[in-house]
Structures are given as structure tokens and as C-alpha cells.
């Protein structure tokens, strides 16, 4: 079932990039996410929103440091050089906009989104409830690569 939802999140991500960053990310091949305890490797920071209501789960956007900085600096015309509070805030707002756009595409569902949280740290992991299913969607953009992960709890 989760495969049916992938498009909602890809379209929402593309909409956010186009409107706020004036660029369109290139979609890689979505893959099932297998191991929660497998670290996120080159992705140094992840922004997360929880979904509740008739569909439950999370949407995560994970970024290498360079991509995170490039996105934040383009959003606010800034010159941040490390993952400071302003960059963390910008990434939270990115996932907030993507989750908002995606949940509006679930026709007939009532979904609430949490306020965003951001985790940073080299090779950090994000654990999901047992019985959940995740899909990783790699994206490339002129601001760098990133990973969108959708997890649905059953």
C-alpha cells in the first residue's frame, strides 16, 4: 500500500523545491528500506514530521551537511557554514512544507502532522515501530543530494 503513497511525497517535495528554491530535484529509484539500525552514512542531519489520524507514520528528509547548508542559504539568502540553529530551523520548515503538501493529496483521509523535529549526527539512525514499512526516495538537485524516507505504521 505504501507504494501508492510515494507519488504524493515526490510531488510535494518537487513543489517545495520549485517554489522555495527555484530548482527541481531529479528522482532516483525508490527502494524499500530494510534495516532501521543501518546508519544513514553520508546524511548528517534528518528532519522529521510525524503523521497521525487515519494514516500514521513519518516523513523524513535526510541531508549531507553540504546540501543542508546550500538549502538553508538559498532559502534565506544566508551564508551559514555549519549546522547551526538557523540551518536546523530551515530543514524543519522544509519537511513541514513537504508533509503539508503530501497529506493534502490523501483524498478522503484525515491526517494530522506534528511539528517538525531535527536530528543531527554522523551516521545517525532512526528507529521505526515494528510492523511499519519504509520507502527511501533518493533525490538529486543542484543544491546537492538528499533522501526522503516515508514510513507507514500498520
Amino acid at each position: 500500500m505504501i507504494a501508492e503513497y510515494v507519488d504524493h511525497f515526490v510531488i510535494a517535495t518537487t513543489d517545495v523545491f520549485r517554489a522555495m528554491l527555484n530548482c527541481v530535484p531529479k528522482l532516483g529509484t525508490p527502494q524499500w528500506s530494510v534495516e532501521d539500525d543501518e546508519g544513514l552514512g553520508p546524511f548528517h542531519v534528518s528532519a522529521i514530521v510525524g503523521l497521525s489520524g487515519t494514516i500514521k507514520g513519518t516523513i523524513e528528509m535526510s541531508f549531507p551537511e553540504n546540501t543542508a547548508l546550500a538549502i538553508c542559504n538559498k532559502l534565506v539568502e544566508g551564508d551559514n557554514t555549519h549546522l547551526n540553529a538557523d540551518v536546523i530551523d530551515a530543514l524543519g520548515e522544509m519537511v513541514n512544507m513537504v508533509s503539508g503538501g503530501a497529506k493534502a493529496k490523501f483524498v478522503g483521509e484525515r491526517i494530522d502532522a506534528s511539528l517538525p523535529s531535527v536530528i543531527k549526527g554522523k551516521n545517525h539512525t532512526i528507529q521505526h515501530p515494528s510492523g511499519s514499512q519504509s520507502v527511501n526516495i533518493p533525490l538529486e538537485s543542484e543544491l546537492g543530494n538528499l533522501l526522503v524516507r516515508i514510513t507507514i505504521n500498520y
Binding site: D86, N96, G101, K103, A104
Partner: protein, 121 residues
């Protein structure tokens, strides 16, 4: 025109403030949640309020209801990721005048705001 930007994200406040500046609007106040927004409206003469929905402490919708209950008729535009029809209806029924879904381009924001520039509110 005095504009109050209400958003818990500094990034979004900066983006909106930048767009307003490009439109020649520099008289701007900022608030980080609904509670601060209510306080700002009660103590300043604000023409237009750009109100996020999901914020800690007090949501934008609660703030709208509080502001309207106090008899304040400033123009309020929700600027939010909440895009579902039932949310929009709920906001309009609570006293919101206009609605803009994030993400948006500066041109779209200014196009909406220009409807209110120079008009009595």
C-alpha cells in the same frame, strides 16, 4: 501598512519579511506563536496579520479566534501548510479573511497582499 508575521520558524519569517521588503513593505512585526501574536495585536495597530497555523503554545487558529473575540478586525491571512479543504473552511469560519498555502513564491505572496495595500482595513 503595518504587517505582523506570525510563524514559529525563523526561516519562514525571514522569507516572508524578504518578500514584503521586495514589495516595499518594511513596517513589520514578528511573533513566534499565537500567544505572542495576540499580545502584539492588542498593543500595536496592525493592518495585516500573516498567520501560520501549527505553532507551539498557541496555534494560529486559536489566536485568530482570540483576536476576533476581542473585537479586532485586522485583516488576517493564514500562511500555512494546511491545504485540506476542511481546514480552509474552518479557518474562514473562524474569522480569517484570506488563505495562502505553503510553499509559495514571493510573487504569489505579494499578489495576495497587494489586494490589501492602501485599503482601509
Amino acid at each position: 501598512m503595518k504587517v505582523l508575521i506570525v510563524d514559529d520558524s525563523k526561516t519562514m519569517r525571514t522569507i516572508i519579511k524578504g518578500a514584503l521588503g521586495k514589495g516595499g513593505i518594511s513596517d513589520v512585526l514578528e511573533a513566534v506563536n499565537g500567544k505572542e501574536a495576540v499580545s502584539a495585536v492588542m498593543t500595536s495597530d496592525v493592518d495585516l496579520i500573516l498567520m501560520d497555523w501549527n505553532m507551539p503554545e498557541m496555534s494560529g487558529l486559536e489566536a485568530v479566534k482570540t483576536i476576533r473575540a476581542a473585537g479586532n478586525d485586522s485583516t488576517i491571512m493564514m500562511v500555512t501548510t494546511e491545504a485540506e479543504k476542511h481546514r480552509i473552511i474552518e479557518a474562514l469560519q473562524s474569522g480569517v479573511n484570506d488563505y495562502l498555502v505553503k510553499p509559495f513564491t514571493p510573487d504569489i505572496l505579494l499578489g495576495k497582499i497587494n489586494k490589501y495595500v492602501g485599503k482601509p482595513v
